[in-house]
Symmetry: C2
Subunit: 227 residues, 2 copies
């Protein structure tokens, strides 16, 4: 389960304080399917980075699967990020000098999986996003939507229990986008938590629970009767 | 006017040939408003990069405002890109170490405009995309949609006659996205060519002319009676 308690994230730029997350409270049970929507700049990526252990709160606490994340060492956090959380970034963060297959296989290889096995599993993930034909392409040899799908394949390769996706269909046409949503929902049906940040109202509606953010706060949460 | 004649763009990866643009013909009059839609990987960004003089055809010719682009030197092409074309990239390409204002002002400063004047004009463009408050933020201190809007402000700062935008609302909520479309359509009403690649059918419909791409070719073009 995921629990944020009175979490804030404050940035300082040019002497000015900016409250990207403003005393938020959020509880998500393992296996839930939640969409997070809201205006550009409202704090969605900041929230997702927090949940993905890529960033720490300025104040408040984050409890993940019974552990206080704030008390974990850097190496323990790295383990959480590798095994328990699959993260799809809004800007993909693929490794530019590696072809698609190696980008996806990398988490397995870093984990000590033998290279042949890692590449076979990566190939299966690549196939599940419809891009076997791009196996040898490096990121700059692929379209925006193809890079996005490679990022998704990489996020699911370690079979994590929580999937966090930041605008996973932003660069995809309706057909490829629906394919990706089906894939993510399949994984959710197998018990994985699925938290999706999206600007697409159609995608937002498919989630079982819809959360809206405005100015670093939750404006509504359909789990609490106010969608 | 923009005219592509029998243009192809061929890539070779791992010994395999990939035809990203496949013998295409396209004529767009200055001041037209055209949307380009199609599946992920169909060649939209490749087409737009070609039109924006960021890439050259493997075969065929590109005539822009009466000039054969293929015959221009690198420095002449740089002038075309600076003065005649405003380009919004699918992945923004902002300069990471410069704050938002300086990112927008840069084309003017490179053009010899005095720094104060350049910053005033950049501030006006920043205001037109609703982000004066992010003046001092560097790209990694902004949200995805904020970076996208900075990229748009930079594309319009030199007042180019042709505006080429690759998924300009992909990272924006409906409200900010509509604001951007209004801004671009305003510029079109003042006589600028507006060519928008989009996955958003709502945005695609707003254009006066809708072109669909599939596998490097035009599947339909509403200017030719088949939308
Ligand atoms: N490192 C930083 N320093 C200062 N301000 C930041 C930083 N990162 C983000 N911000 C600001 O915090 C706010 C929230 O950013 P965030 O990326 O979470 O927004 P978002 O909801 O994901 O937006 P979008 O829909 O555009 O992706 C934004 O207004 C942004 O400018
Ligand atoms: N440098 C390159 N080398 C090899 N293949 C490339 C290169 N750049 C693009 N491609 C391929 O060319 C095809 C067209 O790419 P393009 O970026 O134009 O697609 P797109 O229509 O913009 O897709 P999207 O909607 O996903 O952004 C894609 O299948 C892509 O893999
Ligand atoms: Mg974001
Ligand atoms: Mg593209």
């Amino acid at each position: 389960m995921i629990r944020l308690t009175d979490v804030s994230r404050v940035y300082t730029v040019g002497g000015q304080e900016l409250r990207a997350l403003d005393h938020i409270n959020l509880t998500i049970q393992t296996g839930e399917y939640v969409s997070i929507m809201g205006p550009s700049g409202s704090g969605k990526s900041t929230l997702l980075n927090m949940l993905g252990c890529l960033d720490r709160p300025s104040s408040g606490t984050y409890e993940l699967d019974g552990q206080q994340v704030g008390n974990l060492s850097e190496s323990e956090l790295a383990k959480v990020r590798r095994y328990r959380i699959g993260f799809v970034f809004q800007s993909f963060h693929l490794i530019k000098r590696l072809p698609a297959l190696e980008n996806i296989a990398l988490p397995l290889i870093l984990d000590g999986v033998p290279h042949d096995q890692a590449r076979d599993r990566a190939r299966a993930a690549l196939d599940s996003v419809g891009l076997l034909k791009r196996e040898h392409h490096r990121p700059n040899q692929m379209s925006g939507g193809e890079q996005q799908r490679i990022a998704i394949a990489r996020a699911i390769i370690m079979d994590p229990s929580h999937l966090l996706a930041d605008e996973p269909t932003g660069n995809l046409d309706t057909k490829s986008g629906t394919g990706i949503v089906d894939l993510l929902e399949d994984l959710n049906k197998r018990g994985k938590t699925l938290i999706v940040v999206t600007h697409d109202p159609e995608m937002g509606k498919r989630a079982k629970r819809a959360v809206r953010m405005v100015d670093g706060r939750f404006a509504s949460d359909s789990a609490q009767g106010g969608a």
